[in-house]
Subunit: 193 residues, 2 copies
Amino acid sequence: MSTNWLVASTNRLVKLAGVVRDKEATKAKLLEAALDEFAEYGIAGARVDRIAAKAGCNKAMIYAYFGSKEGLFDQLLKIQIDHVVQSVPITPDDLPGYAGRLFDAYQEEPRLLRLAAYHRLENGFDTIPEPEAQAHRHKVEAIAQAQVEGKITAVFNATDLLDLVVHMSILAFSTPNASRDLVVRSVERLIAE
Amino acid sequence: MSTNWLVASTNRLVKLAGVVRDKEATKAKLLEAALDEFAEYGIAGARVDRIAAKAGCNKAMIYAYFGSKEGLFDQLLKIQIDHVVQSVPITPDDLPGYAGRLFDAYQEEPRLLRLAAYHRLENGFDTIPEPEAQAHRHKVEAIAQAQVEGKITAVFNATDLLDLVVHMSILAFSTPNASRDLVVRSVERLIAE
DNA sequence: CCGTACTAACTAACTGTTTGGTTGACAGAG
DNA sequence: CTCTGTCAACCAAACAGTTAGTTAGTACGG
């Protein structure tokens, strides 16, 4: 037909909108839908049919791109954790601020906290992805260094201190309406000399 | 037969041991099996067949005694929470000790922490049983009273303070190998003048 | 016209829940 | 003591619906 160029052009436009035949766009839609589903229902409670429906694509795509329901969850969690790890760098000489920024990240994306909690419950502590473990070691090292330099308290060892700060940042998990101010002030008192 | 009295006696003994035809014993076995199952797999992940098998009785008994899978979970959670609430009374003038004793309770029965976490994730904050809410209000009041009497710090209001202490006591949820000492020392520093 | 993103239809296994029937304990009559 | 009727505790099997995962074919883009 003489309208071939027009059709092609239309498809290209549509493709940019991520509606048809775009592998990466489809994966992205599946991941977004999976974030919704897994955060709400957990791994065992999530339903692949709902994820596909929410993403507006076929269920078989999940298996083509992620292998299995668990594969989808694992990749999703990795992406989300990488994102928060990179967007909230540790500031060893301002741990209250670090806790506050972690708190902010969880407020901005509450699904992440639920995702991580479900992962912990269903997979235990053993299954920590290596990049995350490495990031954790780096943070411990940074805190230890700040302690050596006398910038922050040494009443807690570096590992315990990081654990405490991170734990305070997830205060919203155990308490509704937990405020950022409460988290920050708590860490301030924990590290006060 | 002339051994009828013996048979009857045997049955009575067996009944005392809770092996046959003992409603309360069966309920208890189901609850214990349910604690195992729900703590490990969560509500959505738990399987009634596994619970019945673990309890050594038919799964129809679950529906006879608890109505449904969720009914079984609800009753189980209520019992467990009541137990910890009663066995660990609050000591407003010794909050570090209170946090430590809560920590001990969770160490002694780690399944409780998992049970409560799954409940929070799958039912949200709204679904707090009234007895628990009442116990919570009582604790806030006790802390407020201690603050009025000048026994403990007033840098946090009573509600926040209770939330912080409870949150510290579940440190083991976010950190493997969390120590009792770390929990106690953290609360000490939080309430230090 | 080829490769591949995509889909509808399918399956085999598993899910919570119910049902109909069985069994053991016990009270009262003989 | 023995027999028997009753009732609650119990179980095996079946139920209807749902599940994760598969497959064979379609159609689009290059």
